[in-house]
Point group: C2
Chain length 420, copies 2
């Protein structure tokens, strides 16, 4: 990596440059509502009508004219004549009007009869044959769900760029919207390196070989995050022509590409060289640790994210580069990640000028959260991601944190809780 | 709901009782690694061998005997004989041994030759034909990834109950594990209510009818959270015999059941009555708002969660009851939810004795986070879940919070960020 240190771009600048220089134009596809979960909405969706469509009762009780109940108390109740009964099934157009001194027995969700402007709850009444005693006054629109109270006709329900969550599905369904336009982002993952082999039927890899864990990590990360449908296209060796043909073909069929490996000195920088031949390099090396060789380019108009073959470095690049760039290009708004504040158990030094990603363990310690750095180096060390539960990001201008300082940690696994 | 208030169980007690009285025995199925994302591991998985399998170089440089480099400086370098070159492809059994005064050129990831116990980086050396000058001493095991450094043979990689995330997939792949046993939890969703109709081709529902938004919300919630494969089994009307047959049949084919609606006075409590006939009721009403009618029972050994037909009340029950109970019964550990601390913009009163779920909007305000309650009541009001972005849970013993107090909010949608 030597000779290359001088050209490193800061993480912030890298993301900004990528957002300026790249674009993503995924297809739009219409999905049945139940299949839209976790997808990114491709357009604003507006309420096609008001919800509720009519004023409705919010409780079980009696629909009344609020004025008839003013001042009612247990010792001086209002007395009303029950003239009808309204259920959720009742057709609003056939419900008789409520006049002065009258009431209609009404169920939760049933349409309010014309003339009525409030509902008194059963609890505040006593039935006497066809009459009721009302023991508590109710204000105008009391216990009524008013027309348009949930959604007004024409109001936005889901905005373009929203990642569709369960409550969006509920809201769209309540408005009778059964299909929704979503982005179909096709992401290709290509691995490089003669030493990388695919998983077999178990047992250690052949001498000098490693299993392709990074591509599977990248692919499942993109899927979990909703950043696209990942397709893993296999390992290309270290022959430049093979990678050239593979990248050229892939760029025509996918919206963006993530390559793993082949960005460092020992691989002869094969990936950036091929990207340069086929298109251009936008960022060559980022001031982040791990993940220094992370590079960004473009081939036939398609973004290419070149991440390390080492899984932890790849994960840092996914979190800090691929996620914000892809999200930004799609104008999407992802759900928040779980982040906690915790007290550092020991000093942590940063190489100033680098954004550093430390793997940590966060645990409950006497009513607060403590955070213990797991390991300073070793970008290949996956065990720290499954033994630990957090990533502590130290910005490039920070020299480090002292023991006892409060820091913010992204939780990638559950917190370790004290036995209660 | 009157007459029923006295029997409400506190939320904590309800969850504890349910965990004590219920059980879940889902099937175990073996999944290819790539399909295990988001599933719950059914057993502990141990490293089948150490990783790395051998001591490996962590950098590009020269493998040496550390002792030969002690005290080396730019003005008094150590001089070593380069006797071989080791690449990632090299078979560890055929690499010649390194003796005193000798070195082997070595690539990142290549196996350390016998006799060598450290690697000096290229940057710290100068090549002179078959010899190198070493300008900086290296300690024993310096720049070496040691055997078992990532995983020791027999060490746990994924624990039973872990929700499988991208890094677990990466770790399992790195160890050559291509299949993993996961829980297959089958959840059935049954809706009740004569007023509930299925989504059609758009347009408002017929008079007095509502679209079945709650079942879709429940189903997508369970899917997103990884609490089971949801199957929505349709709407049963308010006829008790229909629900009886449906529940009986469903209990034999699914691991647990969520019903929506039919738990309140206006529906004649049809669901709890049928559950009582078929099995037994464990909790009848919980001191939570919204969600008071939430009930828990068991039919033919299968848990039945009875949630409100109102979507917001159903969501509160999913978060506060279904999630902890199902998770606890499966002995699973879910990923953390995003939670933030934010300053309340206005006073919020709680009905003591109730755990209350307020829908709120969290936004950046001058360097900190502010939280504005959106609405106090209206458990049918879905718009607050898509307009707002958070849920503020007020525990039952808290009377309320004052304006300006810091409170914790679960973020269900992205934060509103200030324009930078």
């Amino acid at each position: 990596m030597q000779g290359f240190l001088h050209k490193l771009t800061s993480l912030d600048d890298a993301v900004k440059m990528a957002l300026r220089e790249l674009s993503l134009n995924p297809r739009v596809e219409e999905k049945p509502l139940t299949q839209a979960l976790g997808k990114i909405a491709a357009e604003d969706v507006y309420a096609p009508y008001s919800l509720p469509l009519n004023n409705r009762s919010a409780v079980d009780g009696y629909a009344v004219r609020a004025e008839d109940t003013y001042g009612a108390t247990p010792s001086s109740p209002a007395e009303l004549q029950v003239v009808t009964r309204v259920s959720v099934d009742s057709d609003p157009s056939s419900i008789p009007s409520i006049g002065r001194g009258e009431a209609a027995e009404i169920a939760t969700g049933a349409p309010l009869p014309p003339g009525a402007n409030a509902v008194v709850m059963y609890e505040d009444t006593e039935r006497r044959g066809n009459r009721i005693l009302v023991y508590r006054g109710v204000p105008v629109w009391g216990n009524v769900s008013r027309r348009g109270e949930d959604f007004e006709e024409g109001e936005p329900v889901v905005r373009r760029g929203t990642v569709i969550r369960p409550w969006h599905i509920g809201a769209l369904a309540s408005l009778g919207i059964s299909r929704v336009k979503t982005l179909r982002v096709r992401a290709a993952i290509i691995s490089t390196g003669d030493e990388v082999v695919e998983l077999g039927d178990g047992g250690p890899p052949p001498p000098g070989r490693v299993y392709n864990s990074t591509a599977l990590l990248v692919s499942s990360y993109l899927r979990e995050k909703g950043l696209g449908e990942p397709s893993y296209l296999g390992v290309v060796g270290d022959r430049e022509e093979d990678l050239y043909l593979k990248l050229r073909d892939t760029a025509s069929r996918y919206d963006y590409i993530v390559t793993t490996g082949g960005t460092g000195v020992s691989s002869g920088d094969i990936v950036p060289r091929v990207v340069e031949r086929l298109g251009r390099i936008i960022i060559r090396g980022i001031a982040m640790r791990p993940g220094r060789p992370t590079s960004i380019g473009v081939v036939h108009g398609k973004p290419v994210f070149m991440v390390s073959g080492f899984p932890v470095a790849a994960l840092a690049a996914l979190e800090a580069v691929v996620t914000p760039v892809v999200t930004g290009l799609l104008e999407a708004r992802l759900p928040e990640s779980p982040v906690v504040e915790a007290r550092l158990t020991r000093r942590l030094a940063n190489a100033v000028g680098y954004t550093s990603f430390f793997r940590v363990r966060v645990y409950e310690c006497g009513g607060e959260l403590c955070v213990e750095p797991l390991r300073i180096t070793g970008s290949g060390i996956l065990s720290t991601l499954v033994r630990g539960n957090g990533i502590l990001v130290v910005p490039e201008h920070v020299e480090g944190y002292e023991a006892g300082e409060k820091v913010r940690v992204i939780l990638i696994n559950p917190l370790e809780r004290e036995k209660g």
